[in-house]
């Protein structure tokens, strides 16, 4: 396999993660506390955290779209999390199978 477009993988260091977390905290703390602003600030913090992990800035032309995508993702889960509660520490496994375990056993895997 040849993949000329792929750069070498950059390792994420503990320092990267620390910087990301710090950036998130700083931005979240500086967010105004009213209306939609907290969600906006949280999304902005996630973009900053992403940039810290990437080791570079998100291009300005994409920044708003990335932030909106993260905000919408967070909002969708905020609205839906309670509609489908999952018990803490209860499943032996959560592997998804399109067929039942019984059928899979019957057909040999």
């Amino acid at each position: 396999m040849r993949d000329e477009g792929a750069p070498r993988r950059r390792q994420v260091s503990r320092r990267d993660l620390g910087k990301a977390a710090a950036a998130a905290v700083v931005i979240a703390a500086s967010a105004p506390p009213s209306g939609a602003a907290p969600a906006e600030a949280a999304a902005e913090a996630r973009v900053a955290a992403l940039e810290a992990v990437l080791g570079r800035g998100v291009p300005p032309a994409l920044r708003g779209t990335v932030r909106d995508a993260l905000r919408e993702h967070d909002e969708a889960w905020r609205q839906n999390r309670d509609s489908c509660p999952l018990s803490d520490g209860a499943e032996p496994s959560f592997a998804f199978l399109p067929v039942s375990l019984g059928e899979r056993a019957r057909v040999g895997r």
Partner: protein
């Protein structure tokens, strides 16, 4: 019969013509290549022709037949493969400018198996870059540009298996292999007026196919008829040690309609928007026809879960992880669609807890949702509620009131068949979706065959071919 006349037939019919010596595989393959290189290129459906390999395989098929050896119903039949399926002798660019130099020295499992069944690979077909895993706003989100709809060249062919839909819809090839993670198969099948089968997750091994979402990607066939799809699935399905997700057991294609009365569960669909009128009428007629054939129809409803949210979370997280090197590097900027770039970046920031919640929820939902098949054998709905949108308009604007059941169907890994069921007021094709339980392909294909025995929507031909500019 001339090869050009055979060209617009489906794969099963082409196979019968070849075995009856009405046309040779070489003649038909040459006609396919000529059509793909002219009309296919003009439509934007062609990623790469494979003339030398195709003619070699076709000549072998003819020699075998001359010696009295047939590999089966698809012996000598030409087909195209979406450009995310590896094949020796041609680049496999995944529709992506960032992978323009990419070439594999092996065939994907699906290609190996179709070759073993006697099929002839004629071309790699155009696709949305990286199968649109990051989301995309424009039809031209592909290194080959926007793929035109054979029924109206100012409309889009759909995506991400754009070239497969357009090439079959235009009658340039009788069979194409595509993929679906969410919508990539059913959308172009419906928009281009062809028959498309999204098999059960794991049915067709994915060795040699681009990975976008490990737990949601499926490979499957598009053809003129349900019979074409059944024969292609029979050739491709079955376990493969190189893909641990591949399901055990082979698939036996139904040779005829079911022969028994089925219980068809009609999924709730919101037809209230004025743009859905044609789909409402076509669907009502389709359901009425199925009922007149003796099948029982009843209302069916899936349990309420956030299927779409779970599916989008999984695709986002897995897609960005699958392309992490690209997303982290300069290659990302080479992608044609900024929404795709932004989506892949955002996917890297999906919290692990959200991804795992989606996967846990999926495992919990699967057995609950399966109960819908206790009261019915097949689910039915319009594949989409409108015909293809304009090719040059933002999909963020034009993709409204489309409907569809891709969220639950793909999240749960259920098989689905889209068959042509009519046209909208602009003369664009509409599809009927038949959904089955896991491993239920034979039932939906059999029902599709019966529907196509009674209708001729699948046999209609798109208007004047596109010409290379």
């Amino acid at each position: 019969m001339s090869a050009d006349e055979a060209l617009t037939a489906g794969a099963a019919e082409q196979g019968r013509m070849i075995r009856a010596r009405k046309v040779s595989s070489v003649e038909l393959t040459r006609a396919c290549l000529d059509a793909l290189e002219t009309e296919g290129a003009a439509l934007g459906a062609l990623a790469e022709p494979m003339r030398a390999r195709a003619l070699e395989e076709a000549a072998l098929a003819d020699r075998e037949l001359a010696q009295g050896a047939s590999r089966g119903p698809l012996h000598g039949v030409p087909y195209g493969a979406k450009d995310l399926i590896a094949a020796r002798g041609a680049p496999t660019r995944w529709g992506s400018p960032a992978h323009a130099g990419q070439e594999f020295d092996h065939d994907a499992c699906a290609v190996e198996r179709l070759r073993a069944a006697g099929c002839v690979l004629v071309a790699k077909l155009a696709m949305i870059e990286l199968a649109g895993g990051g989301g995309y706003e424009w039809a031209h989100a592909s290194m080959t540009g926007a793929c035109r709809n054979p029924w109206n060249h100012a409309r889009w062919a759909g995506g991400s298996s754009s070239g497969a839909g357009a090439a079959v819809g235009a009658g340039l090839v009788g069979l194409a292999i595509g993929s679906e993670t969410w919508g990539s198969f059913m959308v172009p099948a419906a928009f281009c007026g062809v028959t498309g089968l999204r098999p059960t997750y794991g049915r067709v091994p994915r060795h040699g196919a681009m990975a976008l979402s490990w737990t949601m990607d499926k490979l499957g066939p598009m053809g003129r008829t349900a019979e074409d799809c059944a024969l292609a699935l029979e050739a491709m399905a079955g376990p493969d040690p190189r893909d641990p997700s591949a399901l055990a057991g082979r698939f036996r294609a139904p040779r005829r309609p079911p022969g028994k009365r089925l219980r068809i569960g009609v999924l709730p669909t919101d037809f209230s928007h004025e743009t859905s009128r044609a789909a409402a009428k076509a669907f009502e007629d389709a359901v009425g026809l199925l009922r007149s054939l003796g099948h029982k129809t009843l209302g069916a409803r899936l349990p309420p879960y956030p299927y779409e949210l779970a599916a989008s979370t999984i695709i986002s997280a897995e897609g960005s992880a699958a392309f992490e090197n690209l997303v982290r590097g300069p290659g990302l900027a080479l992608l044609r669609d900024e929404s795709q770039q932004a989506g892949l970046l955002a996917g890297l920031a999906v919290p692990a807890a959200d991804y795992l919640r989606a996967m846990r929820l999926r495992a919990q939902v699967a057995p609950d949702a399966l109960r819908v098949f206790a009261s019915c054998d097949v689910l039915a709905a319009p594949t989409l509620l409108r015909g293809a949108p304009p090719i040059d308009r933002s999909l963020n604007e034009s993709w409204s009131h489309m409907g569809g059941n891709g969220g639950p169907g793909n999240l749960l890994g259920w098989p689905s068949l889209s068959v042509p069921m009519g046209f909208d007021s602009d003369g664009l094709p509409l599809g009927l979706e038949l959904i089955g339980p896991p491993r239920g392909e034979a039932t939906i294909l059999g029902l599709g065959m019966e529907f196509q025995r009674e209708t001729d929507w699948h046999a209609r031909r798109s208007p004047a071919p596109a010409r290379r500019p």
